[in-house]
Amino acid sequence: MRLVKHRLFWPAAALVTLLIVNVVANPNFARITVRDGQLYGALIDILRQSAPLMLVALGMTLVIATRGIDLSVGAVMAVSGAVALTIIDSPSSNPNSLGTVLIAIVVAVLVALVLGAWNGFLVSVLGIQPIIATLVLMLAGRGAALLITDGFITTVNSDPLSFIASGYLLILPFAFFVWLAFVIIVGVIERRTALGMLTEAVGINPEASRLAGVRSRGIIWTAYIASGTLAGIAGVIYAANIKAADANAAGYLIELYAILAVVLGGTSLMGGKFSIAGTVIGVLTVQALDSTILFLGVPPAQSPVFFAVVVILVVLVQSPRVHRWGRSVGARFRHSDGEADAPSSPERQKEVAR
């Protein structure tokens, strides 16, 4: 019973159910093969491919915890990918040298950081609604990315760059270690310092936390900077994966998938309490769902229907009215066989009341 009460129970249950359905439908799903000391298989692919979404959702979790939302992450991804590949592709540089790639990544992530700071400025200093403040960059950012690449899809062949997306470290994909590292970094900063608690305070009641002496402006600003920076890294990984900077396709709809993953992980869009572990589970669920749909042979273009059904189911399960229905059905059910297990019923009744 305590396990069921844990707030990560339902998100985790959803993920496990999804994986079980896959394994039952196709036993090959769970098969992991070892080749040259490296692991391959559908599950490993999920770990590898979830890197961009994971980074974006991580930043989104922090922003949502402050009662905000960051719609610009997809555009920031497009910009950072365009910046990185334009630097690597420039005639004076050698695409296969590690130095060039590192400089390109650093510059791209710094640009993303500035874009995040811009969002944070609009929201925390000017006090503009987060949806509309980040909408500005969402519209303008993709246009700017197209200008950086001159409207073309810049392609590069760079070994160090493609290592980021498809290389292996020890036995697991390098991209997995990238997102794991950032999950740990963000987790430690938020949960081992007071920052996480202060973020939740700002999200739960901005006015009260201000009166209590919390500097909400700095905290909100930091959240948007983190979101922008992480989206920048995600953009580089995405570009490394397809070996191209595609300003139109990079991060397309990723803001919506990231928000979905955060909500699946149990963080409320109303701000306040957030769960980084929940977000990790949410992202893996979204990615697993994506693979499942592909696995079932549905054209990828039609997959939004499944996501729509999932979103509707998730929000229905979370909605108070369905909870009430569930309780009244449960209460009636218990009432009918109430005499049979009389000793335990008061306890249950208490739960119902709760």
Binding site: L135, A308, V311
Partner: protein
């Protein structure tokens, strides 16, 4: 405005009058600003190109943006109730491709067109019910609508379907000419949508309830207004407008295409905000949204006149959006201080 205030002592009569006017009509100011920007754009473009303000060009402005105008009308209703509808672009794509596929399988237009409108309204109804009766945030509920519409569009067809139905093509090909000016039935539909929207918004009980809900939902409820019904209705209206826009766009392009309208929802939100509607709800005008569409369309035309990349459109619309929200922010802050 600050400049006006400081200048007030010197020219008291005019300054004071302007001050009173801006205070009393604070909610119309963003719309006036949009009109000013539109005039500025048109005059500037005419001076720069010399052949911009031609009847043909201006007629094309309405023709090319008819579907946006219809979507903007529905979105205005939603945003005035402090909601948001992200689904409009994909609802338009779905109804468009659905209609095209019905027509190509021999269903007459008399049946197809109502079916398109109803299917748009049904997605709107789904969003409205989720928002009102299941307490889902409009953002998330309409996100589900977005996914649903886009996915269903691809379920209907993965590629575009040509439309050869004479009735639907008539909507686009007929040109009612007055001198060099012309208007197509799609343009008339768009203007009709604006007119009906404006009348409903300002002259009916429903319209007043929409404003009341946006101003303060709790007050509206305590006043005994039909809040739940109104909140569901605005999403149905937006879905209906999505269906109508699907029809207009299908007629315009002569085909249904499941990739139509990707990102259109954000353009429409930007247009509505530029037209002077506050995202916090309670203030906004359907006619303002029409001005917003013209501003957007004019920027697009100017950019294609200059032969520049169309990606500039979004950069400039983004900057305009920024300008407007900062101005709105200032107005709201001012009126809060004033009251």
């Amino acid at each position: 405005m600050t400049a006006m205030e400081t200048a007030a002592p010197a020219k008291k009569g005019l300054g004071e009058r302007v001050g009173t006017f801006t205070n009393r009509h604070a909610s119309v100011l963003p719309t006036f600003a949009a009109i000013a920007i539109l005039i500025l754009l048109l005059v500037g473009a005419e001076l720069y190109f010399g052949n911009f303000l031609t009847p043909r060009n201006m007629s094309a402005l309405l023709l090319d943006n008819a579907y946006l105008m219809i979507l903007a009308v529905g979105m205005t209703f939603v945003i005035v109730t402090a909601g948001i509808d992200l689904s409009v672009g994909s609802v338009m794509a779905f109804t468009g491709i659905f209609g095209a596929s019905l027509l190509s399988s021999g269903v007459p237009a008399v049946i197809t067109i109502p079916v398109m409108l109803v299917s748009g309204a049904l997605i709107g109804l789904l969003i409205g019910v989720l928002v009102q009766h299941f307490n889902v945030q409009p953002f998330i509920a309409s996100l589900a609508g977005l996914f649903l519409g886009r996915g269903l569009a691809f379920v209907v067809s993965l590629s575009s379907i040509r439309v050869e139905d004479p009735v639907v093509l008539w909507l686009q090909s007929t040109r009612i000419r007055i001198g060099d000016w012309y208007i197509t039935p799609t343009g008339i539909l768009a203007l009709l949508a604006v007119a009906v929207g404006a009348v409903v918004m300002h002259k009916t009980r429903f319209g007043r309830t929409v404003y009341a809900v946006g101003g303060s939902e709790q007050s509206a409820r305590l006043m005994g207004l039909k809040v739940p019904r109104t909140k569901v209705m605005v999403y149905v209206i937006s879905g209906l407008c999505g269906g109508l826009a699907g029809l207009v766009l299908t007629a315009y392009s002569g085909a249904g295409y499941p990739r139509n309208g990707i990102g259109t929802e954000l353009d429409v939100i930007a247009i509505v905000v530029i037209g002077g509607t506050l995202l916090t709800g309670g203030r906004g005008y359907v006619l303002g949204s029409m001005i917003g569409v013209f501003v957007y369309g004019t920027i697009k035309t100017i950019i294609s006149f200059m032969g520049a990349e169309q990606s500039w459109t979004h950069i400039i619309v983004g900057l305009l959006l920024l300008l407007f929200i900062v101005v709105q922010r200032a107005i709201v802050a001012r009126s809060e201080r004033g009251s």
